[in-house]
């Protein structure tokens, strides 16, 4: 079933975590959301909202540190009659899943899904995520939720194995939903950019040689959109809309989960002003960059890197353009080997014809 008016309620159940990942941006305090607070927000969303379908995302820190609360919130919600459809999602590092939890999640797997933070194979994952690989029961996740969504983060410590890590995760049967570079690690060197470029090339060749494989988000860029009219109303995310509600442990709200960690700690008055108009303004390059339609710029990331919500960092821009060129290369070589091409393929070809030479000669610079 498709839900055109899907919305997301993110509940920060706790800010505590049992890990200490190299790129973690979250504040580590001991606050825990109360049951009453969580259920009040769920009631509000599932009773009064114009959105007909809600993902209720149980977030942290590590939410399984508060497993009794997770269980109580879910079971209370399932006992009620609601006018809106919904599904619970648990964002977890997977390391605390014990036998009791496994049994409960298995019984309720249709009603609560998970998104697992997994950065790659053992070596990569351990570099980024506190040597926690062997604490995750990969088989349990894979068998309980086929195509378990995975959030993969690439740090500067793991850029040298991007291709192997993406392939490994996909071969486990997981669905890579996020494949993002860590934020706040400082400026990448030219050598590091070259390593990333080399890894994207290896991944591109892998997908060209394996045309039936679904491309991971790092290369699966909707190039066809470059050949459609630019939608001036296009939002880069649901920030500032009623489709994204993020609730902190104390019941206050934040524009998104990342801002939960910075907006309440900062005295930056400009940030507060900009947060008030978020979702309305576009980035400074929105109208001038040919690649705006496919750029997954992130306001929170902008703020972290440049101190301004609407100014993307040059480094992020360069990485985005590198991914676009790699995607063009991959898709061009995939499409020529297809028996039947779709309308989307036709638009992708048009995008490549129009922009490949341009982006190529600019060496990922301003277009």
């Amino acid at each position: 079933m498709e839900h055109s008016d899907k919305a997301q309620l993110t509940l920060f159940l706790t800010n505590s975590c049992n890990l200490n990942c190299v790129y973690c941006y979250e504040r580590k305090d001991t606050f825990v959301m109360s049951f009453e607070c969580a259920t009040e927000w769920i009631k509000n969303s599932l009773s009064n909202s114009p959105n007909n379908y809600w993902y209720i995302c149980l977030f942290g820190g590590e939410p399984l540190l508060q497993y009794p609360l997770v269980k109580r919130i879910c079971e209370w919600t399932w006992e009620q009659e609601w006018h809106r459809s919904y599904k619970f999602l648990l964002q977890t590092n997977g390391t605390l899943m014990n036998d009791e939890m496994k049994q409960w999640f298995s019984q309720n797997k249709e009603r609560i899904g998970v998104c697992l933070s997994l950065d790659g194979g053992r070596e990569t994952h351990n570099k980024n995520r506190n040597n926690s690989f062997d604490s995750i029961d990969i088989t349990f996740f894979r068998s309980t939720w086929p195509n378990t969504p995975v959030k993969m983060t690439i740090s500067r410590h793991t850029i040298g194995s991007i291709k192997d890590d993406v392939v490994w995760i996909q071969e486990q049967g997981f669905d890579i939903r996020g494949c993002n570079f860590a934020v706040g690690e400082g400026t990448l060197t030219e050598n590091e950019f070259e390593i990333i470029e080399e890894q994207l090339k290896l991944l591109a060749e892998y997908y060209i040689s394996n045309p039936a494989k679904t491309m991971a988000p790092i290369l699966n860029i909707p190039l066809y959109q470059l050949s459609l009219p630019l939608d001036p109303q296009r939002r880069v995310c649901n920030l500032g809309t009623d489709k994204l509600v993020v609730v902190n442990t104390d019941g206050t709200t934040s524009p998104c989960s990342y801002f939960s960690n910075i907006s309440s700690r900062t005295t930056d008055s400009k940030l507060q002003e900009q947060l008030d108009e978020i979702g309305i303004r576009k980035t400074v390059c929105f109208n001038s960059c040919a690649f705006s339609p496919v750029c997954n710029v992130c306001y929170a990331e902008n703020y972290t890197e440049t101190g301004d919500l609407y100014t993307p960092s040059k480094q992020r821009c360069k990485l985005m353009k590198m991914r676009i060129v790699a995607a063009m290369y991959t898709m061009a070589n995939r499409i020529v080997n297809k028996k039947d091409i779709t309308y989307e393929d036709t638009l992708t070809i048009k995008s490549i014809q129009n922009y490949y030479q341009q982006i190529k000669t600019n060496h990922y610079g301003k277009v």
Partner: protein, 40 residues
């Protein structure tokens, strides 16, 4: 950049394919999620 050099033969073939497919009525549904989900 030379890492992602698309060969002339490939570009020519893309041109041929594009010419063969002039369908204009199909609507493309945008299902792309632009949220980075943030690394972390």
């Amino acid at each position: 950049m030379e890492k992602f050099e698309i060969s002339k033969a490939t570009l020519d073939r893309l041109n041929e394919l594009a010419a063969q497919n002039q369908e204009t009525e199909t609507r493309i549904v945008d299902e792309y999620c632009n949220c980075t989900g943030f690394g972390g």
